[in-house]
């Protein structure tokens, strides 16, 4: 009998304690961000997409050897005894597991990992990145695919928070960001405008999708 | 035909239709579900008869209680054989005769009898009258029914429990 009342008392006490905790959280600031409109700051040392400094790469193939899933492929032309021209440095992000093993083995420290993490695409083939020529093609294509949605989203936000919309519009041109390409250095033309290049990039899409 | 009369016919038709479905369907679970609607129709009949307390009680006890009980009964007793019901044609003919004859008897009696009708009064709510009647003139049957319910509760629990639980905890 005593245990019965004790049980009820304990139940009520713990219920009140739980309710108090959740009520406190009700008025705390939310920790999530409003993602497509707000950028998520990545931590220091975040392993995002790779960056390659092509001019100092010596095509030693050590990164490819270190890779546990063999996602790195290099093709190069030897110009003379000292210089190679890396014509293709491809990382297949279908396989890549972001383990960072390719980074420390590089003798010239030409390959590093950046902060970009937005990998979603409509086509698995577009995940096979060529770090040398990366950017231009993918950037243009993805931009054509998503441009309309992106513009709509921005228009919607503009009513409420103009500064956010402006920021997003600025980012839309930037191939590093969001739905578009990944290369910060290359392809400034992609940011100049989309309408002129639409026909051109449409062509590249059909070309790429065809096997 | 007045509005209330047309609604009455609609409700009566639905009630009897679902009642007939209960009797003639071959699927026992559907029969149990159709029975719910028959009970609801009877509750609507009580509303037409201005017995609102009784209608609510009918909904509560028949709609919410007895049908759930019946459904539990159906599902607990039909694990091995299917849910199909068989109608025995040999038995059906005499049953039709008996039920039909009984209905004709009721019908002719109801038509011919000289009922001592009184003008229906419109009660403003029967719950108070029922409550005071139960607590005064009908106190003894009320008490007996409560004792009976207690006995039934314990008895049903005793009968329905598994035999293995007698020795165990």
């Amino acid at each position: 009998m005593r245990a019965y009342f004790r049980n009820i008392y304990e139940g009520l006490k713990s219920a009140v304690a739980g309710l108090r905790v959740t009520f406190g959280y009700l008025f705390k600031k939310s920790v999530t961000v409003h993602y497509p409109f707000e950028e998520v700051k990545v931590a220091n040392g975040f392993r995002g997409l790779h960056h390659l400094k092509v001019d100092i790469c010596i095509a030693c193939n050590q990164c490819a050897n270190a890779c546990p899933v063999s996602c790195i492929e290099q093709t190069f032309d030897r110009i003379d005894k000292e210089n190679v021209l890396v014509s293709r440095f491809s990382i297949d992000y279908n396989k890549c597991l972001f383990c960072w093993y390719c980074i420390p083995v590089c003798p010239t420290e030409c390959i590093t990992m950046g902060a970009e993490y937005e990998l979603a695409t409509f086509d698995r083939k577009s995940l096979d990145y060529d770090l040398v020529a990366r950017g231009e093609r993918t950037a243009k294509r993805n931009m054509t695919l998503f441009r309309e949605e992106f513009v709509q989203v921005i228009e919607k936000v503009r009513e409420k928070k103009p500064e956010l919309a402006e920021k997003a519009e600025g980012l839309m041109g930037d191939p590093r960001v969001g739905l578009c390409g990944r290369n910060p250095e290359k392809d400034k033309s992609a940011s100049s405008g989309f309408v002129e290049e639409e026909a051109d990039s449409q062509a590249s899409v059909s070309e790429e999708v065809a096997p | 035909m007045s509005f209330e009369a047309s609604i009455w016919y609609l409700v009566a038709l639905l009630t009897l239709g679902t009642g007939a479905y209960v009797v003639f369907t071959r699927n026992i679970v559907r029969a149990a579900f159709a029975l719910v609607f028959t009970f609801l129709g009877v509750a609507a009949m009580y509303v037409f008869l201005r017995a609102d307390f009784l209608a609510a009680a009918q909904l509560l006890i028949y709609g919410g209680g007895i049908t759930v009980l019946l459904l539990f009964g159906v599902m607990l007793t039909h694990r091995h054989e299917g849910m199909e019901l068989k109608l025995d044609p040999l038995k059906a003919l005499p049953a039709v005769a008996i039920a039909g004859g009984f209905f004709v008897a009721i019908w002719s009696a109801a038509r011919r009898a000289d009922w001592d009708l009184v003008a229906p009064v419109e009660p403003v709510g029967t719950s108070e009258a029922i409550g005071s009647a139960i607590m005064t003139t009908h106190l003894l049957p009320f008490e007996e029914i409560s004792v009976l319910l207690l006995v039934v509760l314990i008895g049903a629990l005793f009968v329905a429990r598994r035999s293995g639980e007698e020795e165990g905890s």
Binding site: - | A12, V22, V23, I28, D88, A99, I130
Partner: protein
């Protein structure tokens, strides 16, 4: 206008449906359903007479008692059926004729 005879005929049909189910069905749960239909028909009669012939609420109180008794009856009957089912593995009423547990 809906009068007493309407209710009596309605209840009569309902009662005969229940009677038919009790007479023809061999499954015990369905027999129980038929009994419930008959009890409901009786209740409709009581309440109709209460409104059109009598006065006060006596008929409704009878109907209330019948509802309560029907609930009790259903509970006990289903408990018994459950027990029968454990013994025989079926609840066909014709074939339950041995009085042993």
């Amino acid at each position: 206008m809906i009068g007493l005879v309407h209710y009596l005929v309605f209840a009569g049909i309902l009662f005969c449906l229940g009677l038919f189910a009790v007479l023809t069905r061999r499954n015990a749960v369905t027999v129980l359903m038929g009994i419930e239909l008959m009890l409901n028909a009786g209740n409709v009669n009581l309440v109709a007479f209460n409104r059109f012939v009598g006065s006060g609420v006596n008929g409704q109180i009878f109907a209330l008692f019948i509802i309560v008794l029907a609930a009790a009856e259903a509970a006990v009957a289903l408990a018994i059926l459950l027990n029968i089912y454990r013994t025989y593995k079926h609840i066909t009423v014709d074939e339950i004729h041995l009085l042993r547990g």
